[in-house]
């Protein structure tokens, strides 16, 4: 290629815009074949990749002597062996008009989370329908998820037209049915194209076999569809990622303009704190800018010295986001363990992380029928409409108005896995209208009157490890020392406050949540609280700890081995559990997650109850609580 020609190609390549799209279809819809066809016919494949493909087609192929184009996209060894797509693959190709990033997503329900991963960064969806089968439950599921994730441009490719003799009636019937469904879901103006991915009809080139179809080919649709960019139209938002301080004289806030634009002199507010200042400089290594657009990564210097940290957001002063500590959102659950209302998760929104609980699952959506059904938990790949409560008021926008500042992920505290994705619908007004009643007599005053520092002694361990026995002994000793105490005991609480709860994981979580709240109230009353519950899950103990101030929560792990507890079996429960008549019994068929760093660890197989009690009291003295 001549240099001048190369420069011309580069100039054109530079000016191209980019379209990120997702393809969804079911196991046999021919989705991978379709992408393979796009790559193959747009000459995005190179000779050695074709040689590789020929080898793979011989080893794994399902198309006889022809190249199996699906193998281009199924990248993992397991995928090629099983002939299914498991995870999202990202593919790249370009035409003279546009550059494309394709997220090829698995269609099977068990991989819904992977499809949602692909959809979250796409602006257009190509949904495949098998002409022989018509609309299937998965077509509804894919369309629902696409609309839920806020993708408004949908192209329905009716595939395998060759196997239906390229009949117009087949295509029209599917289009009519789909249009009706799309209207119900709020997908505006879907576009339809009849194709055969295997034979290449209407994928890149218009087909000679379907003269009744006069519209553009799939690639022509992808090249010309205008995708409106919500981020450009939305108000200015910049979540601060990093405080840039090379020396004493420079203090800038680095981050990406996730929506809107900002110019020198613009008034911006730091949320949630609420300080307002003006933009003094927009710094980049290529020189200062006068204006930064949506998606640009910049460093902003403000005119006033105000306190800004990572996690804060700079916003247009006259167009502020919502601020609330409770909101309603759609949650797509991606964890192997179900979502449990009341359990504490980490919530990441923008560049900030919070502690969050789902307080209520309003309903879950049957993704195949779109029915709303009642639910106590959300299992893997389920979608629910939930209320969430956070440990602080946070700034956000509704997802429908701003994909960047209305989306969040949920992270499991123990495994650090990303277990959920959420899209905020609206703030809950009760969060704004219910204020804490200001009370004149506070915790410090009550504690002073009792002459003590309130705290919680949280005993945790297997059934039979001696929690109740030890808590009783400790309480007696504290009484003798003139301390005001209160003991919350597992069995007693379940006779009253928590008698509506059983022993499923969800109920156990709620059980401990209520006890944590009770303990907090008693601490607020100035008491030294002792709790004796198995409390098997780290997350809930962590939540209880977070309700209190630093130093007020002492986790005491009775690490007595299971064999010893089972041998003691004071209530005959282990025997019943082993016999199978007591399901969900901790240590037998329900897990106990031992504390990683308890304030005190005691093995009652080695130490006597009195020795243990002495150590607990000594620990309180050492920590200057009594």
């Amino acid at each position: 290629m001549e240099a001048a020609e190369t420069l011309e190609v580069l100039r054109r390549h530079e000016a191209k815009d980019i379209l990120r799209f997702i393809t969804c279809g079911s196991v046999d819809d021919g989705k991978s074949t379709l992408i393979g066809r796009l790559l193959y016919d747009s000459k995005a494949l190179l000779d050695d990749q074709l040689t590789d493909l020929a080898g793979a087609s011989r080893a794994f192929g399902t198309t006889g002597k022809d190249l199996d184009l699906a193998l281009l996209v199924d990248g993992l060894q397991a995928e090629r062996e099983q002939g299914v797509t498991i995870d999202v693959a990202y593919r790249f190709f370009a035409t003279p008009l546009r550059k494309f990033i394709v997220a090829d997503c698995p269609g099977h329900e068990q991989y819904t989370r992977n499809m949602v991963t692909g959809a979250s960064t796409s602006n257009l969806a190509v949904i495949l329908v098998d002409a022989r089968k018509g609309m299937l439950p998965q077509t509804r599921r894919h369309s629902f998820l696409v609309s839920l994730l806020g993708i408004h441009r949908v192209v329905v490719a009716v595939n395998k037209m060759d196997l239906q003799d390229y009949r117009q009636g087949v295509f029209e019937a599917i289009a009519t049915e789909y249009r009706a469904m799309a209207a119900r879901m709020g997908i505006p103006d879907p576009v339809f194209v009849p194709v055969s991915a295997l034979r290449g009809d209407n994928v890149i080139f218009r087909s000679q076999f379907m003269p009744w179809y006069t519209g553009p080919s799939l690639l022509e649709i992808l090249e010309t569809t205008q995708v409106e960019d919500l981020a450009v139209a939305a108000p200015f938002r910049l979540p601060v990622q990093w405080i840039n301080r090379p020396d004493q004289d420079f203090r800038g806030f680095s981050g990406t303009v996730v929506s809107g634009a900002v110019a020198l002199g613009d008034r911006v507010t730091v949320v949630p704190a609420g300080w307002t200042s003006a933009v003094a400089r927009i710094v980049t290594m290529d020189g200062d800018l006068e204006r930064a657009e949506a998606r640009q990564a910049v460093t902003i210097v403000l005119e006033d010295q105000i306190d800004v940290s990572r996690g804060d957001m700079l916003v247009a002063a006259h167009q502020r986001p919502h601020t609330a500590d409770q909101f309603a959102a759609h949650v797509v659950w991606m964890g192997e363990e179900p979502l449990l209302p009341g359990r504490s998760y980490l919530l990441r929104l923008g560049t900030r992380q919070f502690s969050a609980q789902v307080t209520e699952i309003k309903h879950k959506v049957n993704v195949n029928t779109l029915e709303q059904v009642a639910a106590k938990v959300l299992a893997l790949n389920e979608v629910g409409f939930c209320n969430l409560a956070l440990d602080a008021a946070i700034p956000f926008d509704a997802y429908g108005e701003n994909r960047e500042t209305g989306a969040f992920i949920l992270i499991d505290r123990v495994t650090n896995q990303t277990v959920g994705g959420g899209m905020i619908s609206f703030p809950l007004r009760r969060a704004q209208n219910i204020h804490w009643q200001h009370v004149e007599v506070n915790k410090a005053a009550r504690a002073r009157l009792k002459g003590q520092k309130p705290c919680v002694l949280w005993f945790t361990g297997l059934s039979g490890s001696g929690k109740s026995t030890l808590a009783n002994l400790v309480e007696k000793q504290l009484q003798a020392l003139g301390r005001h105490t209160y003991l919350l005991d597992g069995d007693n609480i379940r006779h009253g406050l928590n008698k509506d709860l059983g022993f499923t994981t969800a109920d156990r979580v709620e059980n401990i949540r209520r006890i944590g709240e009770c303990a907090r109230m008693f601490v607020d009353a100035g008491l030294i609280v002792l709790t004796a519950f198995i409390s098997p899950f780290r997350s809930e103990r962590h939540t209880a700890r977070e309700l209190l101030e630093g130093g007020e929560f002492l986790e005491i792990h009775l690490s007595t081995p299971l064999e010893v507890c089972e041998q003691r079996d004071p209530k005959g429960l282990y025997r019943k559990a082993r016999a199978g008549s007591l399901p969900n019994f901790t240590g037998i068929d329900s897990p106990y997650e031992a504390p990683e760093a308890p304030e005190l660890r005691l093995d009652t197989a080695i130490l006597s109850p009195d020795e243990c009690a002495e150590r607990v009291v000594a620990e309180l003295v050492r920590r200057a609580r009594i």
């Binding site: 390549h13 397991a78 990202y90 980049t284 990564a297 989306a407 992920i409 990303t418």
Partner: protein, 299 residues
């Protein structure tokens, strides 16, 4: 004016790098001296300007790199005033591991994969940037931008963390780490175009000139130092060649070319019908070679 795709790629990479620094305790940037590393380093300079990137560079030196690569590496680090950590698997050196004596698979495993794990463990890095791109290879196309590694540095492709929007999850437990690929969405053409428009320095081996090479297994191997054992009938000859990708010299094939400028290189690439990894011996060792190596901790 909407951003061009290169501007968007640049901004996305910068966002990723800043997120790592915001979330992780002790990040490092793997610097392999090639064109992708050159772009990644340039993006890091941009991401933290006017500060310097708040992490060191790490080069895992297999001791078989082209000499010009090492010179380039040391010069760049000095010019930019960045901390450069060079790690060699001394155990492998003591055992005399090399591509000629032990074959490419063993050499790559010991001097690259094991060496990398040693370095990450030694310095306790909890995040490591790599310059890999999804368009390079099939299993890379499946990998997340924040790619979780277990305490033994293993990748589990069937159990990757969902990665939604631009919300990245860099949380790890003790000993675990995240490999981060800020160039995931770049293609080879994007890389060269960016080098050209941003005027980024690259190793001179990418440009053609007469070099001493031998023809072996259909590839042109450069006689970069006296360690290249000649087979019967082989004689090094001077040919106009350049490299499309850089690695250990005995494992990296040259291509015949007269391209001496960036537009000429890009012109050749646009006309070429083979992908860049074809010049790499290590990928052809076994089917799904890259996926297997990555599971064991390779970048």
């Amino acid at each position: 004016m909407p951003l061009t795709h290169l501007q968007r790629l640049e901004a996305e990479s910068i966002h990723i790098m800043r997120e790592v620094v915001g979330q992780c305790r002790n990040p490092v940037m793997l610097y392999s001296i090639g064109k992708d590393s050159a772009v990644m380093l340039h993006l890091a300079l941009k991401a933290f300007y006017p500060s310097k990137p708040p992490f060191p560079l790490l080069h895992v030196d297999s001791t078989w790199k082209f000499r010009e690569m090492i010179q380039f590496r040391d010069r760049r680090a000095a010019e930019l005033g960045l901390e450069l950590i060079v790690h060699v698997n001394q155990d492998g050196v003591a055992r005399g591991i090399g591509p000629f004596s032990h074959g490419s698979a063993v050499h790559t495993d010991v001097m690259k994969t094991q060496a990398l794990k040693q370095a990450l463990d030694k310095f306790g890095f909890d995040a490591a940037f790599g310059g890999a791109r999804r368009d390079e290879e099939r299993s890379r196309a499946k990998e997340r931008i924040f790619s979780f590694r277990s305490a033994s540095h293993a990748w589990d492709p069937k159990n990757q963390r969902p990665e939604l929007w631009s919300l990245y999850n860099g949380r790890v437990g003790p000993g675990e780490s995240i490999r981060v690929f800020p160039l995931s969405n770049w293609t080879e053409l994007d890389i060269w175009q960016y080098i050209y428009t941003q005027n980024i320095p690259v190793v001179p081996l990418y440009f053609a000139k007469p070099r001493s090479v031998v023809r072996r297994d259909g590839m042109l191997i450069m006689a970069d130092d006296e360690r290249l054992p000649l087979m019967p009938g082989e004689t090094p000859e001077m040919r106009w060649v350049r490299f499309r990708t850089l690695g250990c010299y005995p494992l990296t094939g040259a291509m015949e070319s007269h391209a001496q400028t960036l537009p000429e290189i890009i012109g050749e690439m646009l006309a070429a019908r083979t992908s860049e990894r074809q010049g790499r011996l290590i990928d052809h060792d076994q089917a799904a070679a890259m996926e297997a190596k990555k599971r064991e901790g390779y970048f």
